[in-house]
């Protein structure tokens, strides 16, 4: 149990002399607080597994330091770091029973037998493995094997953090939901810091209190699911989180107005000091754009198709060269494909070179 600080941590798989732009993990500094449930979210190859392996010590960083409760543990081996990690594919020890598998991390650390038994029983109960405790682990299904792996990650009560590297990849969707809520419950019961790597936004948003979004070796935003949804700090976050993703369209922004395709959209805040050379875009989530019957005052667009997602409908529309996704309000009927777009000014954000610009009120 510890607070984990990363100080200017960076890693390159081709050594420290490589071009900093090619680093698998570009320098980051951040703090993971004790007892937090974190998700590291990002597409494949964005450096999230590298970051995880740096924390657990499987990979040694090219630069920077990792502190547990203020103590530098960068040079320590994985064994000495007091950290647990669960991998993408189940790892089980073939010759052992389920119970022996769960006891293995404790046995290796010389925990007294009575304590091991109690702890193994506890974890088996939490993961519904009790009936299987005396069975050979190899005879079980992939789901059950991954539960054993999870159990081995959770069995030590003194760990600084439990790291999960896309642990539910091999699990059926049905069971995925159960296991994820189980992990969430375990997090509350066991008071452990958990870091959960995934490329699945639903998984990240349902598991974590704090979601850290990574892109191209950088942390682009970390915040609560609501923050990521309502105020993406980077166009990548807007695009990656939400389905469909955020509308990001080049625009001319001046004061409280943005111009797209010769039409003006009102903004909630004033943007005066925008950098001149930067690429200026506005971003707005489809949930905050309504399709309305064409009328003066609304951005005019052509509807290309309407996607029915069950509870909501999203229209794919085109404004000049730009494409938008917009919500179709109940009762709207498209006539001839022409439509107007009504924006919610409070949720229209301005991005300069992909980064959010805070306007002045």
């Amino acid at each position: 149990m510890a607070r984990i600080d990363l100080v200017d941590l960076a890693h390159s798989y081709s050594g420290g002399d490589a071009d900093p732009e090619t680093f698998a993990l570009k320098p980051i500094s951040m703090t993971w607080r004790q007892g937090g449930a974190y998700a590291l979210l990002g597409p494949s190859g964005c450096g999230k597994t590298t970051l995880l392996n740096l924390i657990s010590g499987i990979v040694t960083p090219t630069r920077g330091e990792i502190l547990f409760d203020g103590t530098d543990i960068t040079p320590l081996s994985t064994q000495k770091r007091n950290i647990a990690q669960v991998f993408q594919f189940p790892v089980i020890y073939d010759t052992m029973t389920v119970g022996q598998n769960l006891a293995f991390p404790l046995k290796n650390r010389g925990v007294p037998k009575a304590e091991i038994d109690a702890r193994v029983k506890e974890i088996a109960r939490l993961l519904d493995l009790t009936p299987d405790l005396n069975r050979k682990a190899t005879r079980l299904t992939a789901d059950a094997k991954q539960k054993i792996s999870l159990g081995r990650g959770l069995v030590r009560s003194d760990v600084a953090a439990v790291l999960f590297d896309e642990p539910l990849t091999v699990i059926d969707p049905e069971l995925k939901w159960q296991l994820r809520s189980k992990l969430k419950a375990l997090h509350r019961d066991l008071d452990l810091t958990m870091i959960y790597v995934t490329h699945d936004q639903t998984e990240a948003l349902t598991f974590a209190d704090t979601v850290v979004v990574m892109h191209d070796g950088r942390v682009v935003q970390s915040g609560t699911p609501a923050e990521l949804f309502e105020k993406p700090a980077h166009t990548f976050v807007g695009y990656f989180i939400g389905s469909p993703g955020m509308n990001i369209v080049p625009a001319e922004v001046k004061g409280r107005e943005a111009r797209i395709d010769g039409h003006t959209i009102a903004l909630d805040r004033s943007y005066d000091a925008l950098p001149l050379a930067a690429k200026i875009e506005i971003g707005v989530r489809p949930e905050f754009v309504d399709v309305v019957t064409p009328a003066p005052g609304f951005l005019s667009a052509r509807i290309e198709r309407i996607d029915d997602l069950g509870r909501v409908q999203f229209a794919r529309v085109r404004v000049g060269d730009a494409k938008f996704a917009a919500r179709v309000p109940p009762g709207f009927s498209a006539s001839g494909g022409a439509a107007g777009l009504k924006f919610d000014p409070a949720h229209v954000h301005v991005y300069a070179d992909s980064r959010l610009v805070e306007g002045t009120a």
Binding site: I83, F89, V91, Y93, N108, K136
Partner: protein, 300 residues
Amino acid sequence: MDKTVNQKAWFLVLPVFLVVAFSAILPLMTVVNYSMQDTFGNNQFFWNGVGWFKELLDPSTDLGSRFFASLWRNLFFSAVILAIEVPLGILVALSMPRSGWQVAACLVILALPLLIPWNVVGTIWQIFGRPDIGLLGYVLNHMGIDYNYVSNDFDAWATVIVMDVWHWTSLVALLCYAGLKSIPDAYYQAAQIDGASRWAVFTAIQLPKMHRVLLIAVLLRFMDSFMIYTEPFVLTGGGPGNSTTFVSIELVKIALGQFDLGKAAALSLCYNLIILIVCWVFYTVMTNAGAQRPRQEGAA
């Protein structure tokens, strides 16, 4: 659903059947035929029934005593070289590099003894061990060890065993190395996370994962060592006395030395049967032990 019966398919099997008949079944039947008869040359044969088999399995006769003596010798030899080569092969495989140019270098060096013809191996060790001109024999004798594989039983045995270890440990090592390479990195990483010691990694991960290749290695090494002929024949010729006369050497002595075709045929049939039975028992036991822990699905 009705299946159409088409007997023409048998014609496709016919060529294989003919080849097998001429290459295996007919020679085997000839041996069976010989084992029931006695001959004094001139292609004259006399029916002897199971006489040769009775004599062979009765240790009080000359044939029987020679057969059993060489059989125990041979089993002892197989046991010794398995006890040395399997652990040594595992050890070599464990200490081999996992990546880089060293891997290729190690593989080539390990494969070298396997590529040398068996009678050449015998000749190499025959010369190597000679007290007058052989490096090994000369050095040992000058160190004050009275080493002479031609006159001393123990020295002859030691030389044959060391020669076999030199020749075949590579095979076990290469098989084990292949088994080790197929273990995903995640297992080692998980073991690190779980705080496993080097020994625990070996017993909990590496040994169980090598289980299948080890089965093959032990089986191959047992069969090969039980049928060994060329190397000891070239090195010691079965001597001094009969001390390194293995079953195959005895067989050749009877068949070609004394030209007792009936006795030799009976011996070779029993020899064959022993190998088949031992391999079958061995394989069944090992695969049943494996059935307790069925193969990995997914990652492995």
